[in-house]
Amino acid sequence: MANLISRAFGGLNEVRRGLATVFKHTFREPITKNYPDEMPDLAPHFRGRLALTVNPETGDHLCISCKQCERVCPDKCIEITSHKSPETNKLELIDFKIDHGLCMFCGLCTEVCPTLCIINTNDFEMADYSRESLIYDLKKLTLSQDESAFYFDRKEMPLPKPKPAKPAPAAAGAAPAAVAAKPAAVPSVAAPGADAKPETEAPEAKAPADSKTVEVKKPEVKAEVKEESKPEAKPEAKAETKTDEPKADEPKADEPKA
């Protein structure tokens, strides 16, 4: 009997402690974010939407259509069409299709890419109404010059030489080695999602084109960011202000390396 009573009181006490512990959480900050309003702060190596970079300094496309990514993709979701140009018999990229409805974002293609051309951006908002629209072609995939500059800086990838023309198998292993290389301690503070989002909405059709034109008269990255922020679309402008900080110190960050 006494045992029973003591057990009952012990049990009630335990319940009370549990209730108290739960009640303590009244005074704690909620850990959830209301997502569409505030974007999550993603890691630089986050494997998001695939994209093709251009050379940050000179705006030329980095892909040399060596088709390693097409070969390595476990889902066979990459399709590259290219041809040997008659004058300089180098492979010339015609079209580059990625079926994001099929991609599983394993990031293998980014590891084997000899010229660090195909990268995982920090953008993950690709929801769309039809599966066809998930197939990104060359225009949709190619990043503008300052975007690729931003990602080169953020992922701390070595900037490519102006003439990236060596699809040597020796370079194949360079990609993971470069990524795995001990990085300079440059904490990238800009919230990536915040600026990755408008970039997708920005009309990228004219991105390579006008970036080239700008690049002709102003070869320096930092200046042309200011230049481009004006002509481009409304949402872009807000993003530019955010992306300025990483880009502002980007040249200084890179000169010691290069």
Binding site: A8, G18, L19, V22, H25, E29, P30, T32
Partner: protein, 436 residues
């Protein structure tokens, strides 16, 4: 904190819907023929309840979700309306507009009738409470039954049938198991529930809810929670009666003191008993076996959708509200404020405030608020929602019983305990002057 904000909104709306609205109604039409006036006076409480219950249930759902979000370090509903406060309203609309599916092979008639039978008792069961919770408001005096608590309990025993019907009619094995479980559970937990209430009625010497409330007026020491009037003598002594008051109530000296202590303990126990039994009655965690989500998919309302499910949902929360108000009336002194008047009136400012409110525009010119019912309702709402939030806290913490353990707990622990308490009270109240 936003909780307080919500709380005030709830209270204002409860007040407006429950009291002010029908009162205005009657006063507008008061000049008409006496007949209509009488009819309306008779009808207003029902109107009040019918308007009040759904809105109140919505508020309770909102509060529950807010509190759970708070305790699980989340943001609660924060999209619909200002700070997501219209979330539950939107849900209600969605539920009403959803397609109403009756599964193949289900007994359509019973399947449709079950939610109604489940909801109806919680409506007319709440009726006699109105007079009690509004401190015998002139509007609701009509409804006061001499056997109020008896009526409420009788109404509260009905929904079990509805649950069994729902489980049986929806042609689903999970639902069937859920319905049978609910029957077994409700029947076995009815007993400690009623026994604990009978204990209180024994102390009060009446079944009339209003009388019980009025007995407990005058401070926390008079509440049934604390000895059901066993401490009234002490209260009077503190109020200024001095040793004489003590002598009058505890006429048998030390024996009376011991008995008073016994009464206090036993009534606290029966308060706890009542809470447990009530939790089991309205199928809340840790006694939510009829709709055990991880075992039976959703128990008796697995096959329900749209409006029928909405009614089930509504009725559950209404039951929770009713149970809380019964607790308030029977144990927590109804609309009485815990601080005894002899302390309250000595606090500077309080009497002036009361006077100010009494003379204010609302009271004097248009008679929406008459002070005693006003403050009474304020306290009732405070107590009731405190209990509701406590139930939510329990829901956020405890896991679920197993059905056989539930039965064992009910029959082997609660019922003997409540009987023991009952007998103790029967004898102890002979030696102390207490209510009734």
């Amino acid at each position: 904190m936003w909780l307080a904000g919500i709380f005030t909104i709830v209270w204002m709306v409860c007040w407006a819907l429950g009291i002010a609205l029908p009162m205005l109604l009657t006063q507008q039409l008061g000049d008409k023929a006496a007949l209509t006036n009488e009819i309306l006076r008779a009808a207003t409480p029902v109107i009040a309840i019918l308007v009040f219950i759904p809105i109140n249930a919505m508020f309770m759902v909102l509060i529950e979700r807010r509190a759970l979000a708070l305790w699980t370090v989340r943001k609660g509903p924060n999209r619909v309306g200002p700070d997501g406060n219209f979330q539950t309203a939107a849900d209600a609309v969605k539920l009403l507009l959803k397609e109403d599916i009756t599964p193949t092979g289900a007994d359509a008639v019973m399947h449709t009738f079950a939610p109604i039978l489940f909801f109806a008792p919680s409506v007319f069961g709440a009726v006699p409470l109105l007079a009690a919770v509004t401190n015998n408001h002139p509007l609701f005096r009509v409804l006061n039954l001499p056997t109020g608590i008896f009526f409420v309990l009788a109404a509260g025993a009905l929904p079990v049938v509805a649950l069994v019907m729902a489980g049986w009619a929806s042609n689903n094995k999970y639902s069937l198991v859920g319905g049978l479980r609910s029957a077994a559970q409700a029947i076995s937990y009815e007993i400690p529930l009623v026994l604990s209430l009978i204990t209180v009625c024994l102390m009060a010497g009446t079944l009339d809810l209003v009388k019980i409330t009025e007995q407990q007026a005058g401070g926390i020491l008079n509440w049934n929670l604390l000895g059901g009037g066993a401490l009234t003598g002490l209260n009077n002594a503190l109020a200024g009666g001095g040793a004489k008051a003590l002598a009058t109530s505890y006429f048998m000296g030390p024996i009376s003191y011991v008995c008073a202590g016994l009464l206090v303990i036993s009534l606290i126990i029966s308060f706890w008993l009542y809470l447990t039994g009530a939790c089991a009655e309205i199928n809340r965690i840790p006694f939510d076996l009829p709709e055990a989500e991880s075992e039976l998919v959703s128990g008796y309302n697995t096959e329900y959708s749209g409006m029928k499910f909405a009614i089930f949902f509504l009725a559950e929360f209404t039951n929770l509200f009713i149970v809380s108000s019964i607790t308030t009336v029977m144990f927590l002194g109804g609309g009485d404020n815990p601080i005894p008047p002899y302390i309250l009136n000595n606090i500077p400012g309080i009497p002036q405030m009361v006077a100010a409110i009494r003379d204010s525009y609302f009271c004097s010119t248009l008679h929406i608020i008459n002070p005693e019912t006003f403050f009474a309702t304020l306290w009732v709402i405070a107590k009731v929602y405190g209990l509701v939030i406590f139930a939510v806290l329990i829901r956020g913490t405890l896991p679920r019983f197993r059905i056989d353990q539930l039965m064992a707990f009910g029959w082997k622990r609660l019922i003997p305990l409540s009987l023991i308490v009952f007998i103790i009270v029967v004898f102890a109240r002979e030696f102390v002057i207490c209510h009734g």
